[in-house]
């Protein structure tokens, strides 16, 4: 089962999963690639959010995140960062486009 992140409801990675699903891979290889997608997106979004916060707010955000209280995370982020939801969506979309290109490239190479 894939981990539910605080942004899972606004970041859809199913298109990438489907592309990988079409490839000739073993189940383990497929799962590994999907976990790499999740991890890459996760780091990009963390970097984005932390870059928008001051030092003290970063700690508050990390505390909410550590407690896995997604409602608190969103309440806090909406108070502190303008259009944070859109920014997260855009960051994820940009990265997804890059990852999608990688998938296309490997398909062309075969």
């Amino acid at each position: 089962m894939r981990k539910k992140y605080f942004y899972t409801h606004i970041v859809d990675t199913s298109t990438l999963s489907l592309e990988i699903g079409d490839m000739d891979l073993t189940p383990k290889e497929r799962l590994h690639l999907i976990s790499l997608i999740d991890s890459n997106i996760h780091h990009e979004i963390l970097d984005l959010v932390l870059s928008e916060l001051n030092s003290e707010d970063k700690k508050i955000f990390l505390t909410h995140l550590a407690s896995e209280d997604h409602d608190k995370v969103w309440k806090f982020l909406n108070e502190k960062v303008e259009n944070i939801e859109e920014k997260i969506k855009k960051t994820a979309e940009d990265l997804k486009r890059e990852l999608y290109k990688d998938i296309k490239e490997t398909k062309v190479r075969s």
């Binding site: 981990k3 990988i20 490839m23 000739d24 891979l25 073993t26 383990k28 290889e29 799962l31 590994h32 690639l33 976990s35 790499l36 997608i37 999740d38 991890s39 890459n40 997106i41 996760h42 780091h43 990009e44 963390l46 970097d47 932390l50 870059s51 030092s55 970063k58 700690k59 990390l62 505390t63 995140l65 550590a66 407690s67 896995e68 890059e98 990852l99 990688d102 998938i103 490239e105 490997t106 398909k107 190479r109 075969s110």
Partner: protein
């Protein structure tokens, strides 16, 4: 064809992941270090909290370890990565792990410590690899060994005297036939011993001699997933009884290092075999 697709994407996305980790630590080091110093308080209510440091990257191929970016961040951070990686996989309740969960954890531990860690070795496995650990007492290492002769230093005596000597002997009787014959390895085997429920292994009774020989001083990595502390331990006793509700026993030294206690505050540990056919891996605390 499968391998080429997979390798291409794996290598490219791993490299990207490493860059992202470096960037994250480089830009937000102060906050992340603050987190690493406070993680125990932060995860008190939610074990999975530290997943924020890194997403899950399960590596299905131990022989092809994920080149990780941790090497570029301070050593203290590696333990946090371990905690966060384990938190992604471990269930909230302490139950036997599914095979798939064990495989993911083997991968994480193997790449973290650079040694081969596995739940099953030579076709043998304990009945579980994740359970509650209880406190054991010191074992007599040779005939006549007692609390007066047991400790090499005053510091050890102060730290570990009160746990006392077990009334019986370990599963393999003594660690040496006499005080003079006791080697440093023998001392370490007692110092870092665990009692495992080897009698619950499948086929243990029907293949007793084979299993007995396999388990004798078998090295295991015991990890406290809450603080990332790990010990290379050896099986030197059988236990605890099932009726205790505990699944593993740790020597006073093991329990102290792992920061685990017995009783109502007893906690969970992971315990996996170490593949060390040449006996090169030293018993005792181990760091990522």
């Amino acid at each position: 064809m499968t391998q080429s697709h997979y390798k291409f994407l794996r290598d490219r996305w791993r490299a990207r992941h490493q860059d992202l980790q470096r960037k994250l630590w480089s830009k937000h080091r102060e906050s992340l270090e603050w987190l690493s110093n406070n993680y125990r308080q932060l995860v008190a209510g939610s074990f999975g909290g530290l997943m924020l440091l890194t997403g899950q990257i399960s590596n299905p191929f131990p022989s092809l370890p994920i080149a990780n970016a941790q090497s570029t961040v301070p050593k203290m951070d590696k333990k946090v990565f371990l905690i966060s990686d384990l938190a992604l996989i471990l269930p909230k309740d302490v139950r036997p792990l599914e095979i798939e969960e064990e495989e993911k954890i083997s991968d994480i531990l193997s790449r973290t410590y650079g040694i081969i860690i596995t739940a099953e070795l030579e076709g043998k496995r304990l009945d579980r690899s994740y359970g509650l650990i209880g406190a054991e007492q010191h074992l007599a290492r040779f005939p006549g060994d007692n609390l007066s002769s047991h400790f090499d230093s005053d510091e050890d005596r102060k730290l570990y005297w009160q746990q006392g000597m077990a009334p019986g002997l370990g599963a393999w009787i003594y660690f040496a036939p006499s005080k003079e014959a006791l080697t440093e390895l023998g001392k370490d085997r007692e110092r870092y011993y665990i009692a495992a429920q080897i009698f619950l292994s499948k086929d243990f009774n029907s293949r007793f001699a084979e299993y007995r020989d396999f388990y004798k001083y078998r090295k295991m990595l015991v990890v406290n997933p809450n603080n990332g502390r790990a010990v290379v331990a050896d099986i030197a006793d059988a236990g605890p009884r099932e009726s205790t509700g505990k699944h593993l026993g740790g020597s006073p030294e093991v329990m102290h290092y792992l920061e685990r206690v017995d009783g109502s505050l007893k906690g969970s540990v992971l315990y996996f075999f170490i593949d060390d056919p040449d006996g090169k891996i030293k018993l005792g605390p181990i760091s990522p």
